[in-house]
Amino acid sequence: MKRLKIILAIMLGKLLIRLSRLLGNQGSNFPGAWGLRIYPGLLREMASRIRREIVVVTGTNGKTTTSNMIAAVLREQGYSVIHNRAGANMLPGIATAFIEQNNVLGLKEFDYALLETDEATIPALLREVKPRMMLITNFFRDQLDRYGELDRIITVINESLKDQIIKLILNGDDPLSLCFTSSGAQSIAYFGFEPTRYDVLDNRESREGRFCVCCGSELDYSRYHYAQLGEYSCQNCGNRNPEIEFKGQDLELTDKIILRVKDLRLESPYQGFYNAYNILAAAAVAKSLGMSDEAIRNAIHDYRPRAGRMEEFSIDSKRVVLILVKNPIGLNQSLSAVKDDINPKSVFFALNDNAADGRDISWIWDADLENLALEEHNIRKVVCSGIRSGDIAVRFKYTGFDTSLIMIESDLEAGICDALNCPVSVIYVLSTYTALFDCRKILLKLQKRSGQHPLIQPVRGQVVD
């Protein structure tokens, strides 16, 4: 009877996943929710077929990137992995991942399960599955945390960890990590950065005060790495950063990230200090799981950031794809998607040069646009927009586009309409950062006006957490 219910739950789940895909949804939550309704022990049952370990990744920021990187390392090492989709990080979403990747009988075995989990879902998850390792990336208070929600979550996570045999991998640069103390069956390993040349030493900078988790006094920071992550101490009770096992050393942030952890040199095409933390955290987990240096190095090296958000809209039965572009590599990647699409199309490009875009727009000349104008790529019109509409128009002219195909319209909405109003079936809307949200708003409005159902979904990859 139990087996029958499991099979029924999985079958229904699989059917719902397919159905929702057909309807253009990601289908990441409700199939699992229905599966759990038919057989509440579904997750427990399927999790028991994980041969090696179940690893949970939680925290405020970086869950998706970090767990993707860990999954890449495990696969590089040759293991099979169940891994839930970004954002689908509550019980139904996790159940969906198990249903989707399993066979109908629910008997398929996997080496690892990597469960990206919403912080508040941890207690419920720990009632169903028994992970041996849990990574907490960090705990950031945001403006939404006015009611002490974060403290409440930390308390319930602590509570639910009490009787577990589990290894915690924690961020030693985050003062809130000290809320977790190893009691009984738990062990803790910390990751964190040694001083880097990107640190901010000025304590007076207008940052929200951080308070000691032991006595509540305001903490003294001798350096900040990123946000509240850094070297801190409490004048009142002597509380300070714990002993770091996985030290990030020799950090270099350029157009890529280079760092060393325990004599393992890692290089990643990602950018930014927050991603350096994601890499360090992923390496700490992978090393704790016994993965080889080589697998970690290769997986981190090959793990590519996505070309940008790719979002789809449907306006007057035309397909519209919105893509963020910010550097030559990303632009090359995005344009190869444009070239691969054989349909007649127009391209809209909004180039801004505000601080967040980068004031220097010369990077558009480093991107390889030279054969974009070839007839086989079927680009019928190029609309140039944004603060630097002229520069992108000149760039397109020198790739070989006939000037009759190039149009300059600095106003975003008028420009998008120009790109829509030509005999094409697809419109690619490329935009630098500070024009992206305006473009998106305009596209949503036009989509609504054209009377179609809102049909927004990522083309590939998922939205960043």
């Binding site: 727009i361 558009i364 000037t403």
Partner: protein, 246 residues
């Protein structure tokens, strides 16, 4: 139809900020006039027989890379000045421009020898001089407005007051942020801190270089090109710098 060739010096080492845009620009503007233009990359292992080329281009690089190039050119570069005197068109941007002078004095006081073609020196300074720039250039006796983007720590100071800057700064910093000069023009050589890239948005300067190339070959470049898009981009930056938006 004529076949031109351009030497691109150290493209692997000295290629920052969209420098290749300048070469694409020259090549396309010759093609649109019915001529051909090839671009040859010359690196550390090549000899520098620059007399064979119609034009020489060199861009900017980071400090470490610039050091390698300094050493290499010091060994090979003695005859380049003869070519410049004979009217070889040359465009040197940022680091390549600094290299033409007596020396470059780094922030730690270390002195790097330049090619000593011209009597100026460059001293590292802080902060970096960064931003859009507008200058009024003097090209072939004509006053032309030129726009670009500059990003340099070095301050270039003319020691010989007969040296002619490419133009004078209307908005931005230029050679040193003080004396109002930007770049250097000597016969058919232009040195400048402007990238952006420089030539596509300033077709008058591109055509100055191209006509110098053509004249040396006895070729006429009389076809006028439609530069309305280039002019739009040029004016967009100019208006922005002067405070009126478009």
């Amino acid at each position: 139809m004529a076949q031109f060739s351009i030497a691109h010096l150290y493209p692997d080492l000295m290629n920052l900020y969209g420098d290749r845009g300048n070469l694409i620009c020259l090549q396309k503007r010759l093609q649109w006039r019915g001529h051909q233009c090839s671009i040859e990359n010359l690196g550390l292992s090549d000899d520098m027989e620059l007399g064979r080329y119609d034009m020489v281009f060199m861009g900017g690089g980071s400090d470490r890379e610039q050091g390698l190039v300094y050493e290499d050119l010091l060994r090979k570069g003695s005859r380049i000045m003869e070519q410049i005197e004979a009217g070889l068109p040359m465009l040197c941007i940022c680091g390549a421009y600094q290299l033409l002078g007596q020396s470059y004095i780094a922030a730690d006081g270390q002195v790097m020898d330049g090619l000593r073609f011209f009597n100026f020196r460059t001293v590292a300074g802080s902060p970096r001089l960064i931003g859009n720039i507008l200058i009024e250039a003097n090209i072939d006796g004509q006053k032309v407005s030129v726009v670009g983007f500059e990003n340099h720590g070095g301050r270039t100071i003319f020691l010989d007051h007969k040296l002619q800057p490419l133009g004078h700064v209307i908005k931005g910093f230029g050679n040193n942020g003080k004396d109002g000069g930007e770049g250097l023009i000597y016969k058919n050589l232009i040195g400048t801190y402007l990238h952006g890239p420089f030539l596509p948005k300033n077709p008058a300067v591109a055509d100055f270089i191209l006509s110098a190339m053509a004249k040396r070959r006895g070729v006429e470049l009389d076809t006028l090109l439609d530069d309305s898009i280039e002019k739009y981009a040029h004016d967009q930056v100019k208006d922005r710098l002067l405070g009126s938006s478009r």
